[in-house]
Amino acid sequence: MPASRFEAKVRLEAGIAVVTMGGDIDREAESGLAAAYAAAGGADVVLLDFTNVGYINSTGIALIVRFLADGRRDHREIRACALSPHYTEIFELTRLSDYMTIFDDAASATALTTSDPTGGRG
């Protein structure tokens, strides 16, 4: 699997900032993810959409931890959707899923508008 450059686009949907990501979440994604967090502006809920993400390594996990930590500092709820079964397992193993609810897809993630800043399953 050749490396694929990370990219992220942010749009507002039902008051939720949806971060559609593509490529690999590794050390190259650091500035892209930080920029996406900033671009999410004042939205109370930020959804990380993993539909087009093919590879996440431990550095990528660390970047998501930082994203969650920033969300906690700014009282924002972070959600995730469209993770492959393998990365869902990794999010559960690392307990990231205790701090961000994982939805099947963006539609179900944005349908739920109630804000829960403490996170989903935790």
Binding site: P2, R27, N57, S58, T59, A62, V65, R72, H86, Y99
Partner: protein
């Protein structure tokens, strides 16, 4: 005052390189930053340059008496005053001014102001130049690195993912790409009647062109080898097919050997490659056969010879990268050293490991591997009527016999190469048909182990390789990732404290070992001096798709 012209950067250059550098400068974005007037070429030998270099301030061109083509050209372009920009004693450009719009002469105050401006502007211009030069260098390096990655990928797609399993033979192979990726290759080709074709070759040149020619040569050989019994005929046909396709100044050296495993008989032909060594009871001999490299000349014939490899004898096929490797003092590893190592009786895998250890010891730390290194070793471990056990020789253990090596891979210790490790291991284990979830976990574990080895074991130094080996036994799959341990021992894999990381009390990193440990059925760290090896195990039997015992 009108700023007419900024002198070209070619000023600082040696006249012999002037033309090329001026042409290169034409593409630089730097020129767009500066308002430009009429362009005036100033030859590096023009006396004006020496005059400006030594001039303490603005130079009035109207009164300057100097036999200089540049002075004439500048006057024609309407330049009246030239202010040299000097940074650290070096003339880096000029401010060229036309006559004052008031048609008066430049006053003493004007000149003082301009001299002061030039003093302040020169270092700034120099810094801007350096920044642009650096940006250009970075861009060029990125292009090279991208090309290297492509070349590596092409090359590794074509290297065998599996070693042949031959009764009574132990086969081992090693391929270590150089930083600039040469064109080495090796191959095992299944032939009728249980025979096996063994190829080792080397394409002149490096990078993507060499990788493409290597891929093409291998395709041709794979196509022709099963059709002809004779290795000489296979090379003759390969030469005819490759010749019209071969780019100028490129050719391929290639040794092709056909082995009959049951009898030990080998028939071989050689297209200009280094002859293989055979260790016999009487010492090390070479298997010589004459022939021109492939792709040089039409109508070539290739001498064909035969030999018999007796039980406990070994054959070593190799590329020039090993004998031409340089030590810190500039001396070469050389044939005598390789031959002496070959003379020691060792089974195939052990022979290769020993050779590589000796090579690494010879070249020392921080070795910048100049060329690819390929080694293929064959040892006849049994069969035949006369099993010769030399003094001190031990029979191959049952464990070693059932251990089947699928891949040996050496990667430069460069960030990003963990992806190559991951994809190579995935391709290697594809025939095992692991359940998707198990394969995905293995890929993550290999990628993380390789990433740690690169970052800590090699400290991101491409000259310090990371070695990957994949092998199977009847019940298990093993992947080892070995590094030189430059950053000390691998710590225990502990559960990271997510709460502390989320609260900002700990850094968010530190997930690698934890992930590796949980992605495989077992993780073991083996140390040997500073060198260390992470061995990952996946059970092939007695577990369900999720890896749970059944």
């Amino acid at each position: 005052m009108a700023l007419l012209h900024s002198l070209r950067r070619s000023l600082r250059l040696d006249p012999s390189t002037l033309e090329a550098r001026v042409a290169a400068d034409d593409d630089r974005p730097a020129k767009q930053l500066l308002p430009t007037g009429p362009q005036v070429e100033i030859a590096a030998s023009d006396p004006l340059l020496a005059y400006l270099q030594s001039s303490p301030g603005p130079v009035d061109l109207t009164s300057l008496e100097l036999d200089s083509p540049a002075v004439r050209d500048l006057r024609e372009a309407g330049v009246a005053l030239v202010v040299p920009l000097i940074s650290q004693g070096e003339l880096i450009g000029t401010l060229n001014l036309g006559p004052r719009l008031s048609e008066q002469e430049y006053s003493t105050d004007d000149r003082r102001l301009l001299a002061s401006l030039a003093t302040q502007a020169a270092p700034a211009v120099r810094v801007a130049e350096l920044v642009l030069e650096r940006a250009g260098e970075i861009q060029a390096r990125e292009r090279l690195e991208q090309e290297m990655r492509v070349a590596t990928l092409i090359q590794q797609q074509f290297l065998p993912h599996e070693l042949p399993k031959l009764p009574d033979w132990q086969v081992a192979a090693y391929y270590g790409p150089a930083r600039a990726v040469g064109g080495d290759f090796y191959d095992f080709i299944e032939l009728p009647d249980g025979r096996i074709g063994i190829v080792v070759g080397d394409v002149t040149d490096k990078g993507v062109p060499a990788a493409l020619i290597m891929a093409r040569t291998q395709s041709v050989l794979r196509g022709e080898a099963p059709r002809f019994l004779s290795p000489g005929e296979v090379l003759r046909r390969a030469n005819e097919i490759l010749l019209p396709e071969m780019p100028a100044r490129m050719f391929v050296t290639c040794l092709y050997l056909v082995l009959e495993p049951a009898t030990g008989r080998v028939v071989y032909a050689n297209a200009g490659h280094l002859p293989p060594y055979v260790r016999t009871a009487d010492g090390v001999i070479e298997l010589r056969a004459t022939g021109m490299p492939l792709g040089l000349l039409p109508g070539m014939a290739y001498e064909e010879k035969e030999a018999v490899i007796d039980p406990r004898q070994s054959v070593l096929l190799y590329s020039d990268g090993v004998v031409e490797a340089h030590g810190p003092a500039g001396d070469m590893f050389g044939f005598p050293r390789l031959r002496a190592l070959m003379a020691q009786e060792r089974p195939g895998t052990e022979l290769l490991n020993h050779l590589l250890e000796e090579l690494h010891e010879f070249v020392g730390r921080g070795w910048d591997q100049e060329d690819d290194i390929t080694l293929v070793a064959l040892q006849r471990t049994g069969g035949g009527e006369h099993v010769l056990l030399g003094a001190g020789a031990e029979p191959v253990s049952a464990e070693a016999a059932e251990r089947r090596v699928l891949l040996t891979l050496s990667l430069p210790g460069e960030p990003g190469n963990e992806r190559i490790a991951m994809s190579q291991v995935a391709a290697t284990v594809a025939p095992l048909d692991l359940p998707t979830a198990r394969l995905e976990r293995l890929k993550t574990a290999v990628s993380e182990a390789a990433m740690n080895a690169i970052e800590y074991g090699s400290q991101n130094d491409p000259a310090i390789p990371v070695e990957i080996e994949v092998w199977v036994t009847e019940d298990d799959l093993f992947v080892s990732v070995a590094d030189r341990g430059l950053s000390g021992p691998i710590p225990d894999a502990e559960q990271p404290d997510l709460e502390a990381k989320l609260a900002g009390e700990q850094k968010p990193r530190g997930w690698g070992l934890f992930l590796i440990k949980h992605m495989v059925d077992a993780m073991e760290v083996v140390t040997d001096g500073a060198a260390q090896k992470v061995i990952l195990t996946l059970h092939l039997r007695g577990v369900d798709d999720a890896g749970q015992p059944v």
